[in-house]
Amino acid sequence: MLEWPRPARIPPEDEALRSEIRAFLAEHLPDLPADILSRSWMGFDAAFSRKLGAAGWLGLTIPSEYGGAGRNAFARFVVVEELLAHGAPVAAHWIADRQSAPLILKFGTEAQRQQYIPAICRGELYFCIGMSEPASGSDLASVQTRATRNERGWQLKGRKIWTTMAHHSHYMIALVRTAGGPEDRREGLSQFIIDLSLPGVTVEPIRDLTGDAHFNEVIFDDVQLPPDALIGEEGAGWKQVNAELAFERSGPERILSAIMLLECWINWLREHGHDSADEELAGRLAARLAVLRAFSMGVTGRLAEGESPVIEAALFKDVGTGFEQSLPPLISDALGRRPEQPLPAELERTLVYTAAIAPSYSLRGGTREILRGMVARGMGLR
């Protein structure tokens, strides 16, 4: 059985960051319509990321000697929560700040830390994560992209797909095979930091159903990597990838993907009046959101205590993304109860965008079905 959730409070010194980041957002958040703000962690704005870095809002959990703030998981929770709740365009630095810098800090050499982490904390260096391949989705251990050792380092051949923001990133941290074959499963996999400007790398954006190009196919045609492209231990790639999953799956980004739509709808109700069905729905959604936020704070508390609650994070992500995905259909139905009332264009565009992209919420970062299998195992089944 999984341990039952323990509530956690955000420590006052971390809560104190909230008014500061809100003030920063009031001054620097680009003045954009709600449907553009809805992109949030799919919204690329390098200038905004650099402003965040200059103000000290990136690398919050990174030690100060590498340019971070040396704080705990709650400090990052507060700042990320405010950025996402306001729809800030955070895609440029998002992966680098959330995953790449902590990974390099944990597994990198001192030279690698110095090379990458300070620039990530300044909001200048962007990363993507190379996991899926054309024939490897949920079955990640079956990746076929291969790095072979040679006299100049490593030669990389293969391809990655569905790589978010690769077309805007300087580097990719990829999971590739360095020994054995697919039958060796989790053995023989390693992680590499790949400079995407090297000869032989081709990044081809893939247009998504909203018309955006947020993900890509990345082709490695005998790319020569230097020896220090390897991050961490050769052959320990699987273990390294899994070490960060609790961070990736437990944050407020798993409940806030459709928040701009909810805020837009609430504003519309305030302007145009509401009936009992609207009030009931608004209350249900507020209740679920309040509980999910407390859920995320509880998992964050365990991260702050140095635990690695991977199963709890998977459970939270399943429930949280289910909530996010419920917003477009519920709000769509609520709006449609008044067929005679025209919708403002901004609300309409926000609804159309969010409804279209919502299926991705339970795909990115591990599919719902895989997560539920993990939870079942954590409950003692299998």
Binding site: P7, L256, A282, A286, L292, A376, M379
Partner: protein, 322 residues
């Protein structure tokens, strides 16, 4: 410290609420002995300040103790008495009756219990204008209780519905925890096609969904307890927090009971097997003291009446208790 209290109440309730004991409670047999054991445990004063002879736990600290009642399926008004004593400031110098919440009917001599599933109710509190009255129960027919003369007057009103919604929710959360454990255990024990049924992905996915409801409900109770404070030594709940927690707990009831029954198969719908003791009360609990629809509308009106972003309302007015 809290876990010591939780361990103690689990030991006590485990002794009182074995399979035959729960059935005896339903028939109101030997109920005085059961209540006496709860009185002697001292837990009825868990929320009262130490200077009033209580234990001085905060509501957040007491949650594991409250959940234990639902976990063990206790039918007596243990959570009710504990919270009513705290809300009215009844210290242990008063008679330690089993108290529940009720709504006076037109006759003035009888009332309807807000939680009809309770057994062994010895007294009720009812509203009377700006006062709250404690009256003994002299007889019972279904949810209707006949009342004796006023035993005690309190010169203030109590938000009975919010209090009752919190009490019933705490019981339901304990029940959801128990149902999840029973369901996982059964899935690991029951063999079909030559292996435990918990090996099948179809059931694993359902139990994982049920786990999400159970864990959300535990978190929801800490949200319901948020904003609770002491006013002149008396416990006061915040209706918006109670609403938010209660909605999620009520929403969990049906899907969790559905999975529990699906996994248990035919044995789960027998009288003899204990599962039904929890599922029936859990489903009834959803409509006691306001269902999710009722509390959603209250909370929705609260959110829409303000001018804040809805997420700011969640952050600032619906944070969990600790």
């Amino acid at each position: 410290m809290t876990s010591l209290y939780a361990d103690a109440i689990h030991t006590l309730l485990g002794d009182l609420c074995h399979s035959a004991g729960l059935r005896a409670q339903q028939r109101e047999e030997n109920i005085d002995d059961t209540w006496k054991a709860l009185v002697e445990s001292g837990f009825l004063n868990a929320l009262l300040p130490e200077e009033a002879g209580g234990v001085g736990l905060s509501l957040a600290e007491a949650l594991p103790v409250l959940q234990a009642a639902g976990y063990h399926g206790l039918a007596l008004p243990f959570i009710d008495t504990l919270l009513i004593r705290a809300a009215l400031g009844i210290d242990d110098s008063e008679a330690e009756q089993a108290i529940a919440l009720a709504q006076l009917d037109a006759s003035g001599d009888s009332a309807l219990l807000l939680q009809p599933a309770l057994r062994g109710v010895q007294a009720v509190i009812i509203a009377s204008g700006e006062e709250t009255l404690l009256r003994p129960v002299t007889g019972r027919e279904g949810a209707q209780v006949s009342l004796g003369p006023i035993q005690q007057r309190f010169g203030f009103a109590v938000d009975k519905l919010a209090l009752g919604a919190f009490i019933e929710s705490a019981w339901m959360v304990g029940a959801l925890q128990r149902l999840l454990e029973m369901t996982v255990d059964y899935a690991n024990e029951r063999q079909q096609f030559g292996r435990p049924i918990g090996k099948f992905q179809a059931l694993q996915q359902q139990i994982s969904v049920m786990t999400g409801h159970g864990h959300s409900a535990v978190v929801a109770l800490s949200v319901a307890a948020g904003g609770a404070r002491l006013n002149e030594g008396r416990l006061l709940l915040d209706p918006a927090h109670v609403a938010a927690g209660r909605v999620v707990i009520c929403e969990a009831a049906q899907p969790a009971a559905d999975v529990a029954h699906a996994v248990h198969g035919a044995i789960g719908v027998t009288e003899e097997y204990d599962l039904q003791l929890w599922t029936q009360r859990l489903l009834a609990g959803r409509r006691s003291c306001g269902s999710d629809s009722y509390w959603s509308r209250q909370l929705g009106t609260f959110c829409l009446d303000g001018n804040d972003r809805i997420y700011a309302t969640v952050q600032e007015k619906l944070a969990p208790a600790l």
